[in-house]
Assembly symmetry: C2
Homo-oligomer: 209 residues x 2
């Protein structure tokens, strides 16, 4: 579980504001997650998510004090972009990034909860499908949904996926899942906080790609 556990998200502060710098550092370890899926088919997904991170980082780097929290980015961009907002800038990048994060979170949670296809206990399609339906499906038109369905066949076996997550460390499936559960605590709290912020600030959009 090196990949995940060595890069735990830190706990949120009491006011639930997400520190931009810490967030960027934490999510920078996530694109390799898509390599764990084991197929080059996922390269476009990885590059979409990396693009989101780069965009948010560029805004942060332009003025680290002004953009110290994710909340401050949204508030500042709301003013800068006017009518174009929230479909602009780091606000848009984070809107999509959080959906990818939610997908990863629901997928890991579903595995940690032992949800499985009884007829194919070593497949994770049922877990990925649940995560996709929760996080992304409604933002995808029928074509991208169809491509997703095809891509699903490239998903790795559960045993290989868990092994990949724990890269180089010998550990039982149960040990691995225990560590996933530990990773999920702060990760889920962070993703939830970002979703709440989008709702509170009325920054969520539901257009389809």
């Amino acid at each position: 579980m090196a990949l995940l556990l060595d890069n735990q998200f830190p706990p949120l502060p009491d006011n639930k504001e997400v520190d931009t710098k810490i967030f960027l550092e934490s999510v920078s370890h996530l694109p390799p997650f898509f390599d764990c899926l084991g197929s080059k088919v996922f390269a476009p997904v990885k590059s979409d998510i990396s693009g989101n991170i780069i965009k948010i980082k560029a805004v942060y780097d332009s003025d680290p004090e002004k953009y110290a929290t994710l909340q401050q980015i949204l508030e500042a961009e709301k003013i800068t972009y006017g009518a174009e907002w929230p479909k602009a800038g780091a606000t848009l990048a984070l809107m999509w990034l959080k959906r990818g994060l939610r997908l990863i979170q629901v997928l890991l949670q579903s595995l940690a909860d032992g949800e499985k296809d009884e007829n194919n206990p070593n497949l994770i399609r049922v877990n990925i499908t649940k995560a996709y339906e929760t996080a992304l499906k409604k933002y995808h038109g029928w074509l991208v949904q169809k491509i997703f369905q095809a891509a699903l066949y490239a998903a790795p076996y559960k045993s290989d996926f868990l092994k990949a997550l724990s890269k180089g460390q010998e550990t039982s499936e149960e040990d691995c899942l225990a560590k996933v559960r530990q990773f999920l605590v702060n990760f889920t709290a962070t993703v939830d906080a970002i979703y709440e912020m989008y709702t509170t600030m009325n920054a969520e959009l539901d257009y389809k790609v």
Copy 2:
């Protein structure tokens, strides 16, 4: 036809060796071709092709005299990479790039020849499918083939595609196709020459992705 015609490939010299610098300058105008297809679904294809170009350019820039022709790149890399070659370096990047170029060439040729689905004369699926089968299908496993089939539904109407190719210039469909034919002369000769070089140098591979 601004996009294509303003950026004609120059004629090949008599020895049919392709000048690297001129080639790189000519192909640099091709990735926007995938924007003409009109859907963001093609972004991964565009970025794959752009990646090939960047890789070849990096090799060229490292020593423009040594790598003055594409032939010289393959010959030098054959020595440098030993047993790894031809699955390495700019040789690998050009191996894939030429397939994308062939796809574009066969697609444009098929349109120029008036090949069409009589029941759907304004669709170009039949032309794209022919181009895909000629250039790429055998290098794709069943999953990527399936994704291609889905992506095909994102292909534009013929009228919109030709209009996009002639960006900003008012011109009839026939004018446009005449210009496509003109573009194809040197473009086809260049692509053919690269294919011949891969055959002659025994640099072609047929593994699937």
